[in-house]
């Protein structure tokens, strides 16, 4: 009999930092973490003495492959003056730093530590697109990899199953891309702080400067239909359905609940957290759902006593447009087959009743894979503290938010619910 999961003592997030995301080939991965770490120190309202941090958990998917350097734990410990205290690297593909967060929470909840730093890093810019595709592919299922599936290919496959089951069409996915890109210009950390219309206008301007005939797209959807600007990657996934290759780092300062007020009058608490694992495509029962997400959500909801309706907003792992729709359904925000309609109706916009990916999401904010999980939690933390600036959700009673992180092609998923009390 599985018993209800609980923490033996509460955990609060009292600081956070995120580096500017993008492609920074000339920089070192340590630089990104330094950027995120320095922001984190500044963000702790009543201050933190770095000497008080007892342990670090750092998520990294595959700098081993991307920059030919493994064992990033001690590199990060050395960078921030943490040596000789313990540092542990976690790996769960694109969910690596959500696992670091989870380990940090457990370390505090167990009573072993009171103050822990968690975060993630990844540098992908030093490799070509083909090499990055191969590197990411190593996190797929061996059966899929051997058959010739790529990451976009797996999500494209899932999209065709979703279309067949629910009658959605490729153009329904455009709404996800347009919505996420509408949030990105409001996020100074975003890799692409541009709306889809900004991309259109930039392209028109380029044609004008070159003296070429000007494109005559009617609207954003018309632009996304044009394969000369939105080429296919893996049917039905086109360029604008796919998140970019990114560099970046993120971190969060976690402390035991009973000392949280020593650091800030506005701590954000861990209400629930869950993690699940998933099968490969061929072995999964339903191709339009991730069992790992459903498991993670079940654990997080049970632990927190909250329901999907209580989660007022969320960051979900939109590595591909179809993924955002499926995650919203697996997390219970919308019924199966209703997610794409919710996006079309504007329910997930920044000013809608259930804002999703206010940061711009992986699509527009960027996806430095090992840093993404903690970066999503950073966004939820900012929103709950009312510090998200121009992209602050216009709801004065914001109290509960969620972060969903997916690794590989769904092999590892996490869901964390944070709350302001």
């Amino acid at each position: 009999m599985a018993k209800k999961k609980k923490l033996f003592r509460g955990v609060a997030v009292v600081g956070g930092g995120l580096s500017k995301l993008g492609l920074f080939k000339e920089r070192n991965c340590k630089d990104f973490f330094a950027e995120a770490y320095l922001e984190m120190l500044q963000s702790v309202d009543k201050g933190i003495d770095p000497r008080d941090i007892e342990a670090i958990y750092i998520g990294n998917f595959s700098n081993d492959f991307f920059v030919k350097q493994a064992h990033w734990g001690p590199i990060i410990a050395d960078l921030v003056g943490h040596v000789p205290k313990p540092v542990t690297r976690t790996e769960g593909a694109c969910a690596s730093s959500a696992l670091a967060f989870r380990e940090g929470v457990f370390a505090i909840a167990s009573g072993f530590y009171d103050i822990v730093l968690v975060g993630g890093i990844e540098q992908m810019s030093k490799r070509t697109t083909e090499e990055v595709t191969e590197g990411l592919g190593t996190a797929g299922s061996p059966y899929e990899v051997a058959t010739g599936f790529t990451f976009p290919g797996v999500f494209g496959t899932i999209a065709t199953a979703y279309f067949a089951k629910y009658g959605a069409k490729r153009e329904d996915l455009f709404n996800v891309t347009i919505k996420s890109h509408n949030n990105a210009p409001l996020n100074p950390k975003a890799q692409f702080p541009m709306t889809v219309r900004d991309f259109m206008n930039a392209r028109i301007e380029r044609c004008r400067q070159k003296g070429e005939p000007l494109p005559t797209w009617k609207d954003e959807k018309d632009f996304l239909r044009d394969v000369s600007v939105n080429p296919p990657i893996a049917w039905p996934m086109h360029l604008f359905d796919c998140c970019p290759i990114s560099d970046g780092a993120s971190c969060l300062l976690l402390v035991a609940e009973e000392i949280a007020k020593n650091f800030t009058d506005n701590p954000i608490y861990v209400a629930g957290l869950g993690q699940g694992s998933g099968y490969s495509l061929h072995a999964t029962k339903d191709l339009t759902s991730f069992e790992a997400t459903r498991q993670a959500a079940k654990e997080a909801y049970e632990m927190s006593g909250l329901t999907p309706a209580d989660v007022q907003f969320a960051e979900v792992h939109d590595c591909f447009s179809i993924a955002e729709i499926i995650h919203m359904e697996d997390l219970g925000f919308f019924k199966p087959g209703e997610g794409y309609k919710a996006v079309a109706e504007g329910l997930t916009r920044l000013d809608g009743p259930k804002p999703i990916n206010t940061s711009g999401g992986l699509k527009a904010k960027g996806h430095p894979v090992g840093a993404t999980g903690a970066a999503q939690l950073y966004e939820v933390w900012l929103q709950l503290r009312g510090q998200a600036g121009p992209r602050q959700i216009p709801n004065p009673n914001l109290r509960v938010g969620g972060a969903h992180n997916l690794g590989g092609t769904g092999g590892t998923c996490t869901f964390v619910i944070l709350e302001r009390r």
């Binding site: 595709t133 010739g148 790529t150 496959t157 065709t160 296919p232 893996a234």
Partner: protein, 152 residues
């Protein structure tokens, strides 16, 4: 718990002695057979074969041959190819199709899809009938046989 059977690989010998793993699956493909495992305890089928039943945790398996007929559950048409597919000549100007086929016996398998125009993915229909084919690639020790499906 039943004890796990002792499994030996003695090349070319009786089928029952092949271990229920990916290597045996690939060897069978070379022999033109799609072979999976059938749990003796609960009857759950697995393809590729599994040494442990994920339905009932049984560890006693027998081989089951799949006919190779099924319907398309989902697919994709890949334009940006990984390096090993690019070496075979696939990529931007020569996309290829892979998908998930649900076999009549009730299990799914991932495979390449052939006999269709990979430049027209919108003409491929989920739910349509497909039939297995064994495709050889490479020579000598490099020889591999992979599973493909074409429209039935």
């Amino acid at each position: 718990m039943e004890p796990a059977p002792l499994l030996f690989w003695r090349g070319g010998e009786a089928m029952a002695e092949r271990p229920f793993n990916d290597y045996s699956y690939e060897q069978f493909l070379k022999e033109g057979k799609i072979m999976g495992s059938l749990c003796k305890k609960c009857g759950a089928k697995a393809l590729p074969p599994r040494p442990i039943c994920v339905s009932c945790y049984g560890t006693q398996m027998e081989w089951i041959e799949f006919k190779g007929e099924g319907k398309l559950a989902a697919f994709t048409d890949i334009v940006v190819a990984p390096p090993f597919m690019a070496k075979e000549g696939f990529g931007k100007n020569n996309p290829y199709v892979v998908g998930v086929v649900e076999l009549k016996e009730g299990v799914k398998i991932v495979a390449r899809l052939i006999g269709i125009d990979a430049k027209k993915p919108d003409e491929i229909k989920v739910g349509s009938p497909w039939r297995a084919e064994f495709i050889k690639s490479g020579q000598g020790p490099e020889e591999k046989v992979y599973l493909a499906f074409r429209p039935a």
